[in-house]
Amino acid sequence: MSTAPPLIRIRHLSKSYRRAEQTIPVLLDIELDVQAGDFVALMGPSGSGKSTLLNLIAGIDKPSSGTIEIDGVDIATLGERALADWRAANVGFVFQFYNLIPVLSAFENVELPLLLTDLSARERRERVAQTLALVALQDRADHQPNELSGGQQQRVAIARALVTDPRLIVADEPTGDLDRATGEEVLALLQRLVSELGKTIVMVTHDPKAASRAHRMVHLEKGVLVDEPSPV
């Protein structure tokens, strides 16, 4: 058991939406700790709130109440602009549909997050090259996304998530659009990020095979954490 404080410390987290006159609760009083270097899979049936929890941890949504401390900063208290800056420096995103910018090359896509830093053009170029090499796509740097396979696009997305060297990587169904073999490759890459680079990954998935690659699984049902998932 590590005595270091957890990287992610969530207490009393709740989130609800207003639709017309009604208030719909999505997450209820969540408490969760994630250590640095952990690989957590968030699982649950559709509507369980797992994606919402991921969005809150990633800082792209704000909770209705509660605290989310990440590396000592309670991001629930940050204003929109501060949150944007925080994301740029501290979080990497991996989406189910890769979400690459179609008009930019692989290189330019990976470079995007660096545009939010103060690095010079030359420094950016070096970083991008290094990161693309990490995911073994350095010779596809000038290709447009529509010239790459699904697996390759996801690896470019992972490189984009890594390029600013964030501590936390957030992945929403990263293998959802990939075939079995390619999916395995991507998951293997994610594992390496944890084991070799010391990244912390929080991943939403409903594929048990993908979840098994994680260090531990966290289950959600109807907005609450459950110890054992209900039998499917």
Binding site: E80, R87, N99, I101, P113
Partner: protein
């Protein structure tokens, strides 16, 4: 605030080529109309301002406004000749030209439609006062003869004004013996002949205008005061350049105002086109916007990126419209000048100011058309946008 690269903006326009071309095309047409109208207005002004020499003074009857409304008697002309401060010709005589002006209705080449052409009775002094006028074909008319010379625009625009041909007016036949070039000034639209012959033919006693040259251009005020002070002279004196500038005002302003109003109305259509295009761009890239915001780009960066796209589109249209408008400089236009009631030929003139105004107009269209869509894009909620991807 860190922004998105220009490559992103430009390439998004390129990727939707058809839409970009149609939208920019609409804007190009509007800028073309705008620029052409300004070029016409400028062409009129430039032609008439060219007509004046800085040290010449024009005298008309008070309140006349135009040469054809003015009458100056022989007595008044004699008084003017003896005013101090006048430039002298080589033989010592004052450089003063008293000229009758008559309008002659001629048929235009091609359409055959009638137009009033200025007939100016002048002489050696009149020629000396207008150094920009040069005979380019044939020769000058002989004093005391029924010979006439025509300006280059008249020769081009009207039938029957070639060397050797005869025009009939005032009950007499007049032979064209020469053509002159007046350096693209108003005189190019005139026919010159002997002053006395013109006076006799039309049984006139009075001159229309007196033009004189000052020995020192700065002496104008003294001359004007002298003219005002003399009760025998009910005349007003103007610097020649000012006189011709005023002659251009009514027509140039009319064209400028009417044309600009038309261009502004047209721009509504182009702006609508830009709005439709940009709303479509935002709608089709909602997921992309969510991704960029998630990565850490601020709302302002998104607003700037989409607004830049609209501005770049407008700029492309503006440049294209200007390019086509600049081709119009080869076009010769002639119309009746309101102020003089006579024919004025001019060329469309493109100036740096017009280029600047046209580009600003284009960018304004891009701004108005692109602002609301860009604002909407920036207001999008990250989670909702990502869901749309």
């Amino acid at each position: 605030m860190k922004g998105l690269p220009l490559a992103y903006v430009a390439r998004n326009l390129w990727v939707r080529r058809v839409t970009t071309l149609l939208t920019a095309g609409g804007m190009a047409l509007v800028v073309y109309v705008f620029a052409t109208v300004l070029m016409m207005s400028e062409g009129i002004r430039a032609t008439l301002v060219e007509t004046g020499q800085p040290d010449n003074v024009v005298l008309l009857r008070k309140g006349a406004g135009a040469e054809i409304n003015s009458a100056i008697s022989r007595g008044q002309a004699r008084i003017l000749e003896s005013l101090p401060g006048l430039a002298r010709a080589a033989d010592g005589s004052a450089l003063v030209s008293a000229e009758p002006v008559v309008l002659n209705n001629l048929a235009k080449r091609g359409s055959g439609k009638p137009s009033n052409v200025t007939l100016r009775g002048t002489g050696a002094a009149g020629l000396a006062l207008r150094p920009q006028v040069r005979i380019v074909e044939g020769r000058m008319f002989r004093p005391g003869s029924a010979e006439i010379v025509a300006g280059s625009a008249i020769a081009k625009g009207f039938a029957g004004v070639e060397i050797g041909q005869t025009l009939r007016f005032g009950g007499r036949d007049w032979t064209v013996v020469g053509l002159f070039d007046a350096g693209r000034s108003g005189f190019d639209s005139e026919i010159w002949l002997d002053a006395d012959q013109l006076m006799q033919t039309f049984r006139r006693q009075n001159w229309s205008v007196v033009v004189l040259e000052l020995a020192d251009a700065g002496a104008f005020e003294r001359l004007r005061e002298a003219v005002e002070a003399d009760p025998r002279l009910q005349l007003e004196a103007k610097r020649e350049q000012r006189f011709y500038a005023e002659q251009s005002e009514a027509l140039a302003n009319f064209i400028r105002i009417l044309g600009t109003a038309v261009a502004v109305v047209f721009s509504i259509g182009a702006v609508v086109g830009a709005m439709i295009t940009m709303f479509g761009a935002v709608a089709s890239r909602t997921g992309e916007i969510g991704t960029l915001r998630a990565l850490g780009f601020r709302r302002g960066a998104v607003l700037t990126a989409f607004l830049s796209e609209s501005l770049l589109l407008a700029l492309a249209g503006g440049v294209a419209g200007l390019a086509v408008a600049s081709l119009m400089q080869a076009v010769n236009v002639s119309t009746t000048n309101f102020a003089t009631f006579s024919e004025l030929a001019f060329q469309l003139t493109l100036t740096p100011a017009i280029i600047g105004q046209s580009l600003v107009f284009a960018l304004a269209m891009g701004l108005v058309g692109g602002f609301v869509p860009a604002w909407r894009a920036a207001r999008l909620n990250i989670v909702d946008s990502l869901r749309a991807a």
